[in-house]
Symmetry: none
Subunit: 304 residues, 2 copies
């Protein structure tokens, strides 16, 4: 292969100066670096470097266990032991991706903003969050286009046309519909006066039960996936303030399914049965990036 | 540390025979192996071996870029290049966990199986789950070893010694403690009569508040991570029935943080304040693999 891709300058990885770590992922074993090398005319030129450890290869597992260069016992308790194992170089490849020269946009894309958990009481919601949400004029015209069949009409999987307790079920645009492993659909409610989980009371139980029941049936009928293999949940905060419910494959580790953002629809229904005002009483926790406007409002109010 | 944990036989990793790969995770760069070694009396004995590549350490990144043993260009297109980089052994640790001798249950735990959601009512818990849990004799000796300082005593980050409202905070054995990105600690309560979330009532509020408050303070003091960047939660079902609370870095996409398994400690506390019997009233949802005995019990009862 080599330099088949065009006129870009050669890249001297070993001469990279590390400017900053843009982002790390401990789970993915990956790191995103902003580096700099001296360019062709002597000036510092930005580079984006991504390092990612590679998955284990089944045919090399025995080699790994036998050909390690060092094995250190770290902990031993009852039948459990942990070790540090140091493999030889040929068994520990790192996938390295370089974007060079890199623009500011390349770097920004991978820059991690620090997030903090916010515990929003009902008073916080009324005094900080709601005024903020109302001051934003984030357009949700695309939602209305779907509900009015002005867009994606051919994508509708199921509709209950009731203006109060009805909804439309469509594939989420993140899902390419080629495989069921990452199945992802969204139910958008017809009524336009429910912004989020915070607005829900027992009044909305018929709507929520319709979504749960008819959504499961429609997905079983169209895709053959039973309700017991669907994760059905709301986000708080949602990314747009028109009530919607997510349906994802249970085996799919979708973004936004973690406990600080997702609320199972069955739990929401049960909580409203226990107490109609549950979501106007309970503090709700969510993560916010420190550069977000809403975070700054919570800071100004002394709540973070 | 060494062999402080008891009478278990030494484990000869290099002599492991590979029986099968139980599960692989390409995303996590981890593999779960069923192996066999020749035991003390010459018979084949099962072992569970988990290999997991470790996250990058920031202070070693420059070494990685400069001290690689080999660098192969794989692809070059315009400003994009990918390489295979082969680091020296000291820069490519593999975290190795061994359970030996391993029971069939240890192996089953990691064997990949199709999962279904179960919605467990309080009646289901009393009639199906509790009798099942009580019939199982999964040893939690390792928990008692920690609480009694017979193992991992040097690992304790914080202790509140009160027998009723006290707990011990230790690093989870999944965390190698080299970087904060995947920070993971566990609070184990001293009292031995609380199996899980299902047992909690307002009586346990002092204990839960101690764990929340003192756990955050101890982690801030030792690791410099503020409470707003910690995800603090219980699992339902837990993997062992002695009450414990997970502390993970908010930025860490740890296994078991999804909405169908994790319950934020702050939410648990609030729910118990709202209603002391909340967890004896509310149905709880969790995922169960279809080959699990508990799943079969729910099937026999016509509940899935």
């Amino acid at each position: 292969d080599g330099d088949g891709g065009g006129a870009a300058a050669p890249f001297p990885l070993a001469e990279l100066r590390l400017r900053r770590v843009l982002r790390e992922s401990a789970r993915d074993k990956a790191v995103f670096l902003h580096g700099e090398v001296t360019g062709p005319s002597g000036e510092g030129t930005d580079a984006l470097v991504i390092l990612e450890k590679t998955p284990f290869q089944e045919e090399k597992l025995l080699d790994l266990l036998k050909k390690h260069t060092k094995l250190e016992l770290q902990m031993h308790n009852d039948i459990y032991r942990t070790y540090h194992l140091y493999p030889p170089p040929e068994l520990s490849e790192i996938k390295t991706t370089v974007v060079y020269p890199a623009t500011e946009k390349h770097l920004q894309k991978y820059l991690r903003q620090e997030a903090h958990l916010i515990r929003e009481t009902w008073e916080d919601y009324k005094n900080i969050t709601l005024p903020f949400v109302q001051s934003q004029s984030f357009s949700i015209q695309w939602v209305y286009n779907i509900l009015e069949k002005k867009a994606e009409a051919d994508q509708i999987i199921h509709e209950n046309p009731d203006p109060c307790d009805g909804f439309v079920l469509v594939p989420d645009f993140k899902w390419n519909q080629n495989q069921l492993d990452d199945l992802y659909l969204i139910a958008l409610v017809h009524r336009r006066d429910v912004k989020s989980l915070r607005d829900l009371t027992a009044e909305h139980l018929p709507l929520l039960r319709n979504i749960l029941q008819e959504g499961k049936e429609a997905i079983m009928k169209r895709f053959g996936v039973p309700g017991s293999q669907l994760r059905i949940y709301l986000h708080y905060h949602p990314s747009y303030y028109h009530l919607h419910v997510h349906f994802t494959a249970l085996g799919y580790d979708a973004p936004g399914i973690s406990v600080e953002r997702a609320h199972l629809l069955t739990d929401v229904i049960d909580n409203l049965v226990l107490d109609s005002m549950y979501y106007q009483k309970r503090a709700l926790t969510f993560a916010l990036q420190a550069d977000k406007m809403l975070f700054k409002r919570f800071q100004e109010a002394g709540r973070v």
